[in-house]
């Protein structure tokens, strides 16, 4: 089957505007603008059961329908902050098939009658962002973006914005703050981005993931029913699965929802190298709970619903695979370090909880852990979940700890029992460069003294 999203695998030069157009590019936008009212476009996307690929899986058509029709200013913001560990799918679209994103974003913009589109790229994507700007210009010259799009009288420029390298700026409200030039911290919701007061510059805004929008041209061209026919009734369509870690053929795989873990990992990914056994799976990067590689798990279908039933989340479908030699305490420590480093610090449980957890892991890795520390690892993360944090990052941060403690407790006990740490673990602890302890020294001098002097 031909790819819907990763079309660069079928048509290598599709990143070029002419090649994209020669292969049916922008026909979806033309069809939407010329043959459909904005309401019809929303209806088609609603019926296709396209769900957000940024992690939460929220129905895209529903999200668009929340935008008030009468608002004078409305935005579409494309979330290209892709920072989840093990996630590299949006990158391939941006790099290899950018026009499909631009087209999808323009259809979304048409559907809500947006006044502008912003594409927020993570700071590390600066090269992609510059290239993307050129492709946008090509589309603008072809009257597909900008003033009077396709002669419809509707104006909608597309801008690219670079973040400064913060995971939290992938969270939609923090992203909006960052885009506005404010500190990248999440906002209190409600109001949600779609509501007046909640969006970009406080105007109603749709925030969608890159992959989500890249599906839209196909849906408009081929119809909602055709898309819905792919995958399962609840999790419809195709999904890009990112495979990384201990796997023979890491990379992006565009597959219909509903294939099993086993198919993904062993058929498409080529299994675990060096004849090792698979021990654990992170199905959604660092932010979802770890699953032990049991038969039950491997035979489960990859849908939002079934992964949730297993006690994890499909999220952005970033599969990090760990073989039998993986030290799960070390893995949890790495993830904890990541979340501590990326917590925005706005709310207490996440700011303090990630810091505290990291301290405990450092002790464990150094061989100084105690049973009391293991008790803390069971209870601290619980106090970070259950609605007590302002955004989901705090909840994410608790997942690797809770799930490894649940499934691999013996390994933790092992750490405590062997009070003398292994040399490797000690090194790992040292490698975990600590920004926080060096705090005052590391801040720019002006800041250390209280600010501008």
């Amino acid at each position: 089957m031909e790819h819907i999203l990763l079309r660069d695998l079928d048509i290598p030069d599709i990143r070029n505007f002419d090649v994209y157009v020669a292969n049916g590019g922008y026909e979806g936008l033309k069809k939407a603008v010329r043959e459909h009212t904005p309401e019809e476009v929303i209806q088609i996307v609603l019926e296709s059961n396209l769900r957000g690929r940024g992690g939460a899986g929220f129905p895209t058509g529903r999200k668009w329908s929340f935008i008030p029709k009468d608002a004078p200013i409305k935005y579409v913001v494309v979330n290209a902050d892709e920072s989840e560990p093990g996630t590299f799918k949006d990158r391939q679209i941006l790099e290899k098939n950018p026009h499909q994103l631009i087209e999808g974003a323009m259809i979304a913009a048409y559907a809500i009658q947006a006044t502008a589109v912003y594409i927020y790229c993570r700071g590390e994507f600066w090269d992609l962002a510059h290239a993307l700007e050129e492709e946008i210009e090509a589309a603008r010259q072809a009257n597909l973006v900008g003033d009077d799009v396709l002669g419809s009288g509707w104006n909608c420029p597309v801008y690219v914005h670079l973040g400064a390298g913060a995971y939290i700026c992938g969270e939609e409200s923090a992203l909006l703050n960052s885009l506005q030039g404010l500190l990248g911290q999440p906002r209190v919701r409600p109001p949600f981005p779609a509501q007046p007061g909640g969006g970009l510059y406080y105007a109603p805004t749709v925030v969608n993931n890159v992959e989500t929008l890249a599906n839209v041209p196909w849906i408009i061209l081929n119809g909602a029913a055709a898309y819905k026919a792919i995958g399962t009734p609840e999790s419809s369509g195709v999904k890009i699965f990112c495979l990384s870690g201990h796997v023979a053929r890491p990379g992006n795989y565009e597959l219909p929802f509903g294939i099993t873990f086993r198919e993904l990992i062993f058929e498409h990914g080529g299994g675990i190298p060096n004849g090792k056994k698979l021990k654990a799976i992170l199905p959604s990067g660092a932010s979802g709970p770890v699953l032990p590689a049991t038969g039950e798990v491997l035979d489960a279908p990859l849908t939002y619903e079934s992964v949730a039933a297993l006690g994890s989340t499909l999220g952005s479908a970033s599969f990090i695979l760990m073989d039998e030699d993986t030290d799960m305490v070390w893995a949890a420590a790495k993830m904890t370090h990541f979340f501590k480093h990326e917590s925005c610090g706005k709310c207490t449980p996440c700011r303090e909880g990630t810091y505290w957890l990291e301290r405990i892991y450092r002790r464990l890795l150094r061989g100084e852990g105690t049973m009391r520390d293991l008790e803390l690892l069971k209870s601290i993360p619980r106090n970070m979940q259950g609605g007590v944090t302002l955004c989901a990052l705090g909840e994410f941060a608790a997942n690797p700890v809770l799930s490894t403690v649940q499934h691999f407790y013996a390994e933790y006990e092992e750490y405590v029992r062997h009070a003398e740490a292994t040399r490797e673990a000690r090194q790992a602890a040292e490698q975990m460069h600590d920004y926080t302890l060096g705090e005052a020294g590391e801040l720019p001098e002006a800041v250390g003294q209280g600010g501008v002097r």
Binding site: I168, L183, R351, R359, L390, G448, G451
Partner: protein
């Protein structure tokens, strides 16, 4: 009327106005939902997560619309599965919260545990210890013991200066953003921000100079921990050692209510002194805020050099004498010069002082000339006619109210009013700023009106003419209520309404408040301005209403009181025109401030001055009497909105100093006057008997309090901050005459004097700055870095013509004065004018506009 809705806390039903914040709503019913980041005067941010509750709603049957009930007839609620922050929730009908369930208790407990993990726990040496929300809420809701290993604690800088006045302890900060939000939302000064993220999130100052705002001290009150401390108080005392005394700020016409934290201090020889000044809540006046001048400008109360004994000049040398000798001498001189007596009352004499001074002058002169100092503004009598009506509350005004600020650099002259008007603008009030030059309030104005100095009156006449065209506004006026109406109508006939947009904004709102300053106006011109303002208020029917009326932005704390008790700037002018042979100068420093006054005073035969220090005015006197500062005695000030407010004895007496009223009364006794009263309260009783407007202003009445919202201080400091709960009086707002529907009002046509053309280079315009070298402020040394050096602002074109560049040393000269200053060419001065901030130079300059030349001088 806002709709009232019913909501439920732990099963109990309560009523509150729809849309009230849930934490506030609970608080109004004396139920505590603990908070750190939420503050009732700031927008919620949901950061600290302390306010977690279970949220639900009344279960209503969809078909019948009836509330569902269980078998006991109790209403049934539906609950959200997860905890929610109460501070981000507004109350709607049927909303329910549970605050005592296992989940909530555990949630609060864990938030406190998290907050305490990296907290330094240096309560024993922390300034906030004893009045710390974190301490209190930990006691109330926190874990009993710590599970955190002390070695894991984060270590951060503990003495980070955020500018010269405020220090940050990074370890204590709990990242609640109250301080940054105060600066951003309330003040609008972009000076503080968060830097970095995660556990590295830090408060930094982002302005240059650092923490560049006039309101920085307030952040220390609302900081829920001891992270922010003032340079004035840090490590000065423990809060529980302090005795809080109620007082009123003596620096400006706002009349902020203060609480002075005092103790018997080793460093002051065991005397009771002020250790710190904090706001005292008065929602009618300053709410819970004060400016940095009020907070840090208290050192004059005990500074070195306070006069401790009466001092007599003998053969050019000062010799101490005792009080009876001093009284006798003044009495003798009054007998001798009574028919040629001049009285000057300073801006911060209390009403009781003013009353006794007036009585004293009346004993020797049939029509004593009672002058105010500084004599730059007038019209207090008009404020008495058409001042703001009963029930006026700046805090509460919004789109229904228009506010005109004219001829004033508002933030410099009345900081807290500025703050409140700025916030009123944020809430939708139509703020119009009229001045000859840009001022900071322009940023928040809906319209800005520029005129030429001296022509402020024409702006108001224009608005009045515009009002007359609108019959719905002015049609119902009658000559019987308003004397002079037809003359005014006739005079305004020819006036073309200028600034139509600004006029429409002012006239279309229900209410109109006019704040009138005196910038660029002579006393005579200022009277015309005040009259023009009164005309406008009367014509539009705005006089005598709540949130409407005229307010003078006086250059002092009690100038409205002085007018109410018969003093005036016109009397001062008359005295300077024909100087008397004897002067009594109460708490004023005219010799330092005004060249003409200096000449009139030094030329007199006998000058007696009450003073705190040896000032140029005391030096020029023959007898100097040591007065007590506001901190050492009781009294009342009448603020610019005509609220009479009591201040109390705060600290021990310095030397043999006495309150001015007692001094004047004792002298009066020697002139066969009535026996001196034994207390300030008794003096006020006399005032209530003789001054009808003050009939109700007895001390007991002024001490009355009411329940105010938000609650602050005491057990509620986690909620509103450590500002002090008001137990000592909210004062009494004196209604303007216009409020009495049967009272006759008077309007009078006013004309605009075209500013006299002179052959001098430029016209000198004295302008007021908050941080100056006033006697009451200069001794607060920690503020010296904020007091600018003497400067004069020039227009670019004038500067070029005169060969002067920004930063040059210049001489500013005119009739009888010469000062040196630094030239500022910063785009604020209109062409043809030199702006001279007053009370910055040690050499006297004019206090009202005058001709001048400016020339560059060597280095």
């Amino acid at each position: 009327m806002t709709e009232t809705v019913t909501f439920y806390i732990d099963g109990q039903a309560y009523q509150v106005a729809k849309g009230t914040n849930l934490v506030d709503a609970a608080k109004m019913h004396d139920i505590d939902i603990p908070v750190f980041c939420y503050h009732p005067k700031l927008k919620p941010v949901g950061m600290c997560r302390m306010c977690l509750v279970e949220l639900g709603s009344l279960s209503v049957n969809r078909e019948t619309g009836e509330v569902e009930r269980d078998e006991h007839g109790e209403p049934v609620f539906r609950w959200f599965p997860r905890l929610q922050t109460a501070c981000t929730q507004v109350v709607t009908d049927g909303l329910a919260v549970r605050t005592t369930t296992e989940a909530v208790v555990q949630g609060r407990n864990s938030i406190l545990e998290f907050l305490l993990t990296s907290h330094p726990l240096d309560c024993p040496v922390c300034d906030k210890g004893g009045e710390c929300p974190l301490q209190n809420l930990t006691m109330g809701y926190g874990p009993g013991e710590s599970r955190f290993l002390i070695d894991d604690k984060i270590r951060l800088d503990k003495h980070v200066p955020l500018g010269e006045l405020i220090y940050l302890d990074r370890e204590r900060c709990i990242q609640c953003a109250r301080c940054t939000r105060f600066c951003d939302e309330i003040v609008g000064d972009d000076v503080l921000a968060f830097h970095e993220r995660g556990r590295r999130l830090q408060i930094v100052t982002i302005s240059d100079p650092p923490f560049d705002t006039k309101f920085s001290g307030n952040t220390t009150d609302i900081c829920p921990v001891g992270a922010l401390t003032t340079a004035d108080f840090r490590f000065g005392a423990r809060p529980w050692e302090l005795q809080e005394e109620a007082t009123i700020c003596p620096h400006c016409p706002v009349g902020c209510n203060l609480s002075a934290g005092t103790r018997l201090d080793r460093d002051a020889g065991g005397k009771k002194i002020i250790k710190r000044i904090m706001p005292r809540q008065n929602e009618w006046v300053n709410e819970i805020w004060i400016c940095d001048k009020g907070r840090f400008g208290h050192h004059h109360t005990r500074a070195e050099g306070r006069l401790e004994q009466p001092m007599l000049k003998q053969n050019g040398a000062w010799v101490p004498i005792d009080w009876p000798a001093a009284y006798d001498l003044v009495a003798a001189k009054l007998r001798q010069y009574g028919d040629s007596l001049g009285v000057l009352a300073g801006p911060s004499l209390s009403n009781e002082d003013l009353w006794e001074l007036r009585k004293l002058a009346g004993l020797v002169a049939s029509e004593p000339k009672l002058g105010v100092w500084p004599a730059a503004m007038t019209g207090g009598d008009l404020v008495a006619q058409v001042g703001v009506g009963s029930g006026t509350m700046l805090r509460a005004v919004g789109p229904e109210t228009a506010i005109l600020v004219i001829a004033s650099d508002f933030e410099e002259e009345a900081p807290i009013w500025w703050l409140q008007v700025k916030q009123a603008a944020d809430r939708g009030a139509a703020v119009v700023v009229a001045n000859a030059r840009p001022t900071k309030l322009d940023r928040y104005a809906r319209a800005v009106v520029r005129y030429r100095y001296g022509e402020a009156v024409s702006v108001l006449n224009g608005f009045a003419a515009q009002a007359l065209k609108d019959k719905s506004l002015t049609g119902k006026l009658s000559e019987s209520r308003v004397a002079g109406l037809s003359q005014l109508r006739a005079a305004l006939k020819g006036v073309k309404p200028a600034f139509g947009d600004a006029g429409r904004m002012l006239l279309s709102a229900e209410n109109l408040i006019i704040f009138a300053g005196g910038e660029g106006l002579s006393v005579a011109q200022h009277r015309e301005l005040m009259q023009a303002a009164a005309n406008l208020l009367i014509l539009t029917g705005r006089a005598g209403r709540a949130n409407s009326g005229l307010v003078a932005v006086w250059p002092g704390a009690n100038m409205q009181g002085a007018y109410d008790l018969g003093y005036s700037a016109e009397a001062t002018q008359a005295l300077l025109d024909t100087p008397p042979r004897m002067w009594i100068i109460g708490a004023a420093n005219p010799v330092a401030e005004d060249a003409r006054a200096a000449r009139a005073i030094t030329g007199a035969e006998f000058v007696v001055a009450t003073s705190l220090f040896m000032t140029p005015t005391s030096e020029a006197a023959d007898l100097v009497l040591p007065r007590q500062s506001f901190a050492e005695r009781e009294g009342t000030f009448t603020n610019g909105m005509r609220r009479v407010q009591r201040f109390y004895t705060v600290q021990g007496i310095i030397g043999d100093s006495l309150p001015d009223w007692k001094i004047f009364a004792a002298i009066g006794e020697r002139l066969n006057g009535p026996k001196a009263r034994i207390s300030a309260g008794a003096v006020m009783k006399d005032i209530t008997a003789h001054v009808p407007a003050y009939a109700q202003a007895s001390y007991p009445r002024l001490a009355q309090v009411e329940r105010q919202f938000p609650l602050v201080g005491g057990d509620d400091l986690y909620y509103g901050g450590t500002a002090y709960f008001n137990l000592s009086g909210l004062g009494l707002a004196i209604p303007p005459v216009a409020e009495d529907g049967s009272a006759q009002l008077e309007v009078r046509p006013v004309t605009v004097d075209a500013p006299a053309s002179t052959d001098a280079d430029l016209s000198l315009i004295p302008v007021r700055v908050l941080y100056d070298r006033d006697v009451l402020f200069e001794p607060s040394r920690l503020m010296h870095h904020r007091v600018p050096p003497p400067s004069v602002e020039l227009n670019q074109a004038d500067a070029e013509r005169l060969g002067i560049a920004d930063g040059d040393r210049v001489a500013v000269e005119g009739d009888g004065y010469q000062i040196t200053a630094t030239a500022r060419v910063d785009g604020r001065a209109p062409a043809g004018y030199a702006l001279l901030p007053v009370r910055l130079s040690s050499t006297p300059a004019p206090t009202t506009p005058a001709a001048c030349t400016v020339r560059k001088i060597g280095e």
